[in-house]
Amino acid sequence: MLGPVVWSFYGSFTNAALTGPAALNPEWIGFDNYVALIGDPDFPKSLWLTVVFVFLSAVVGQNVMGIALAGLLRSAVKPVRSITSTVVVAAWVLPEIVAAFAAYAFFHSEGTLNTMLAGVGITGPDWLYSTPMLAVILANIWRGTAFSMMVYSAALAEVPPELTEAAQLDGANGMQRLAWVTLPVIRRSISTNLMLTTLQTLSVFTLIYVMTGGGPGTDSSTLPILAYQEAFKFAQVGYGTAIATVMIIVGAVFSVIYIRALRPEVD
């Protein structure tokens, strides 16, 4: 009796996801959306902004920052270690809407960042209007680094110290040890983490929506924002669904790559 319940719950999820492909149902949507999508100048722009956002904030920002923090934390004294990791994790644990408000206030033209810059004699720009992408990318790094930091902390703790010591005795400097010993040993964690942060960042909505609303104009409208705006602001649910379908396909491709990388651990 409970079996069908399990399946219907799980089915409700798959069904929901499959509604994307069902957008091809000609009854009320049709192919026109995809034709319009390709012709719409907002779409390639939004796709490009999404790629920039994911690449800079997740692939580069969170991962480099995460691995750097994890490495530094190992050589830090205990109070510094606990203060830093608590603060970084706090930004991650905070509900996303609160984090978005905090980032909004930080980057606002009268916000903390510009007050600090004014303190050293620089007049900061209005970050949210003149460089909206930079602001949301930095905000997402701020919010997401904790996850990478935790994954890499666990990974670094499992690197056998003999390996780095041997390299050190052979005369390898810090950079060389990192590039030729540590990174190859933890490459599994790196690929896993790259995948996870990429997928999380792909679906970031709240942070951007609260900070810039996708604006000015469409200068920070990544795919989730564009899909939302088309569907609800301009009441083109079908068109929004078409954008969502593109996102699901992108996400699915990444998921398949990720699962393939993890396969031996599942079996």
């Binding site: 750097a68 530094l72 996303e96 809407i97 007050t115 996400g251």
Partner: protein, 296 residues
């Protein structure tokens, strides 16, 4: 930003073997590492510190600054039933509801996956893993269309079920990992005594994995509590919306003037999540438990 900050610490231990023998060199590296970390911590804490300080500031601005007059007026201004308590209650109903449903279903789904070698078990696990990866934001527009057709829009139970469904893949995955660590020999003993599979699950397995279940429940609860986008799309009437959505509406109406109240509201809303996170770290004995569970 990241590259600049880490550059000094990484290049500092130059000349490895020499540095190893020379004590002061190591010391300098350590001091540099600690200073860099403190600088990063300061940068990370500033946006959050604004929320804390502004909520007690009578004349809060968008910039971090020590208040001239410390006050709790911001809190008393927002602590009205329709502004705070009802949305917080809604958020609690949503989170606890989807947490409870998810845990029950996840346990029932994880038990056979963990205990039997099934022909489809592997494919099921792959599809579960696949489900955890899909961007939820992407499916919201189709889900909205689906909810309109099913006449579930603006329905609290409908939203609870949807949120439970979206958190299920991750919950099944985590529960299976926790369940795998319960030794099967205990159940075999129960079966010999004549217990059915369900009895063995309830009397033997569940009590042993109580901390694991608590972690899964809190994980789902925290996710649902912080979820903004799903209720934002699926719930329309203000008296049904959870705190995450009403806080956003509040920001839209008064946000440009009443920063102090916005910050106070944010603080009230964020506090339970922070508390639960501390609780999870206590239960599982490690601050990295959630990440570990996510790592699978």
């Amino acid at each position: 930003m990241a590259a600049q900050m880490t550059a000094p610490a990484r290049t500092a231990p130059d000349g490895g073997a020499v540095g190893r023998l020379a004590g002061p060199r190591i010391k300098a590296t350590k001091v540099a590492a600690n200073l860099v970390l403190l600088a990063i911590a300061l940068l990370f804490v500033l946006p959050m510190a604004w929320v804390l300080v502004a909520s007690f500031d009578a004349e809060a601005t968008l910039s971090f600054g020590l208040p001239d007059a410390v006050t709790t007026a911001n809190f008393s201004a927002i602590m009205t039933p329709e502004l705070t308590w009802l949305p917080l209650w809604n958020a609690f109903v949503l989170s606890a509801g989807s947490g409870a449903i998810t845990v029950v279903v996840a346990v029932l789904a994880a038990y056979p996956l963990s205990r039997y070698r099934m022909r489809f078990g592997k494919y099921f696990l792959y599809s579960v893993l696949f489900g955890t990866c899909l961007p939820i934001t992407a499916i919201m527009v189709p889900v909205y269309a689906l909810f309109v057709q099913l006449n579930l829009l603006d329905s609290l139970p409908g939203t609870i079920f949807f949120m439970a469904a979206t958190s299920l893949p991750m919950a099944i995955w985590m529960t299976k990992n926790f369940m795998d660590s319960v030794p099967i020999s205990l159940e075999e003993a129960a079966w010999t005594e004549g217990a059915s599979a369900m009895q063995a699950l309830r009397r033997v397995v569940l009590p042993l994995m109580r901390p694991g279940i608590a972690v899964v429940f809190i994980f789902v609860f925290v996710q649902a509590w912080g979820n903004f986008f799903v209720p934002f799309v699926l719930l329309l009437s203000p008296e049904k919306q959870p705190a995450a959505v009403s806080i956003f509406a509040f920001f839209g109406q008064y946000g440009s003037v009443a920063y102090g109240q916005l910050a106070a509201y944010s603080l009230l809303y964020a506090a339970p999540v922070l508390g639960l996170y501390v609780l999870v770290t206590r239960i599982s004995g490690s601050a990295f438990a959630l990440a570990g569970a996510v790592k699978g």
